[in-house]
């Protein structure tokens, strides 16, 4: 039965989503972590809401970064462990397509979920409602880019025993420009200044990463799996 590329993509995404929803606690963990980390900052700094607003973009973004990292380890691990990944690679659809599908599905359940939850967190941090659109757009672009950077890192560390820490060590330096522009965009929106420039830059970073990262992640998997 010959499956077209788009159909294969859809099948893999559906499979990933099915597997993810089968363990809802695993699904919720990054979200809960996100909420907890954003709570830590106001508690630790005991600031008034007006002062918290200044720090809010940074806090939001750091929390999003850290919680995305938590779930990246599992991107390829279980499939690599039981041999499914090799089967998928041999399926004739090309490993790159599989990688794109898995990463997209991962973003749907982590990054996209974060974006949906962000208004709640934003309110808790004192971000005004007028900035929500920019905040969610910047988080959406940023988490998508992060999922791709994470896919490269996950591909490189999939076989390692203590790969989790190394994964963070690899991905975080690459994600720093993302943090700067993402938080910068939200910051501008809060001050009422136009965030278009920063958003365009974020979008450019996203496009750049989304086009090149799949190939890098595929090569990484081939290196670690063969």
């Amino acid at each position: 039965m010959n499956v077209g590329a788009l159909e294969a993509f859809g099948l893999v995404v559906r499979r990933e989503l099915c597997l993810s929803f089968r363990r809802p606690d695993q699904l919720l963990q990054p979200l809960v972590f996100f909420l907890i980390v954003t709570t830590l900052f106001p508690l630790g700094l005991s600031l008034q809401l007006s002062l918290l607003r200044d720090m809010a973009p940074g806090v939001l973004w750091v929390a999003a970064l850290l919680s995305s990292l938590l779930s990246l380890d599992a991107l390829f691990k279980s499939d690599a462990d039981d041999g499914t990944l090799e089967q998928l690679a041999l399926s004739g659809q090309g490993l790159t397509l599989i990688v794109v599908a898995k990463t997209f599905a991962h973003w749907l359940v982590t990054g996209a979920a974060l974006v949906l939850v962000s208004p709640i967190v934003g309110t808790a941090l004192g971000i005004p409602g007028s900035a929500f659109a920019t905040m969610m757009l910047s988080l959406g672009l940023g988490t998508l880019t992060l999922s791709w950077l994470g896919a490269i890192g996950a591909g490189l560390t999939v076989g390692l025993r203590r790969g989790n820490v190394l994964l963070s060590l690899i991905v975080l330096p690459l994600a720093m420009p993302l943090l700067i522009f993402g938080a910068g965009a939200t910051d501008r929106a809060i001050s009422g200044v136009s965030a278009t420039g920063a958003l365009y830059f974020l979008a450019a970073l996203c496009v750049f990463t989304c086009t090149l990262a799949p190939f890098a992640a595929t090569v990484a998997l081939r290196i670690t799996l063969e």
Partner: protein, 244 residues
């Protein structure tokens, strides 16, 4: 024409060449660095704005430049090794990493001490400083990744890929002063056309740059011998090589 290229892929040739070149590089480095230090510290006139503090440039600029050069060499060597499967490329990449990391630390330290009298602060989160710090993290990541694998060949390939991915940071560091409003001063030497520094200040700087480059070459050759031995332990030529 391609024979010299094939020679570079041969481990005994690389080992021998590195052993032969290292003392020459080191000697030339000693000469150029000595001249640079003496001329820069004692004979260059003090800067009109910064006084004698500007002399830090004689170690800061060369180390910053070498941190970028070493990373690029590491990434290029890794790419050559990945694409053409030349194992010696991995050896060069592995040898470059700790040298480049040490230069990055030196650049950050000297830059920090220079920042205090110049800008009033030991650190600022401005684009050039931040991206240079990211470069240090990238070096550490590459070195950690390489050593995390039980199979050294796999570790080499993974580290090579990571180095290539991180290469995007190098032009960011270099052009950050051009693209953003940066605290850090703009290009003085690397501009096309006349550099904006008088000769008595410039020559020691160029000499230090050359000296650091030669020094990198020397240490690279020294480390490379170790890297080649570690990768070729079982080979026949090693017996003769380590007897000497």
């Amino acid at each position: 024409m391609w024979t010299w290229f094939y020679k570079l892929a041969s481990p005994p040739y690389v080992y021998g060449a590195a052993a032969a070149l290292a003392p020459w590089f080191l000697g030339l480095a000693a000469i150029t660095i000595s001249y640079g230090l003496v001329a820069g510290l004692a004979f260059a006139p003090p800067d009109y704005q910064q006084g004698d503090a500007f002399r830090i440039i004689y170690v800061h600029a060369p180390s910053a430049w070498m941190s970028l050069f070493a990373y690029t060499s590491m990434a290029v060597a890794g790419a050559i090794a990945l694409i053409w499967r030349i194992k010696m490329g991995h050896a060069v990449a592995a040898a470059s990493a700790p040298i480049g990391a040490s230069f990055t630390v030196l650049a950050l330290f000297t830059g920090s001490l220079w920042g205090r009298p110049m800008w009033g602060t030991y650190w600022a989160w401005d684009p050039r400083l931040t991206s240079e710090l990211i470069l240090l993290f990238l070096y550490v990541g590459v070195m950690s990744l390489r050593s995390a694998f039980e199979d050294p060949a796999r570790g080499d390939r993974a580290a090579a890929l990571l180095a290539i991915v991180g290469l995007v940071n190098v032009p960011i560091i270099h052009y950050s002063v051009l693209w953003w409003n940066s605290l850090h001063q703009g290009a003085t030497v690397a501009k096309l056309g006349k550099p904006s520094m008088p000769g008595s200040m410039l020559w020691p700087l160029l000499s230090m740059l050359l000296g650091f480059m030669l020094f990198y070459g020397a240490v690279l050759c020294m480390r490379l011998q170790g890297e080649v031995l570690n990768r070729e332990r079982q080979a026949k030529w090693v017996r003769e090589a380590i007897k000497s």
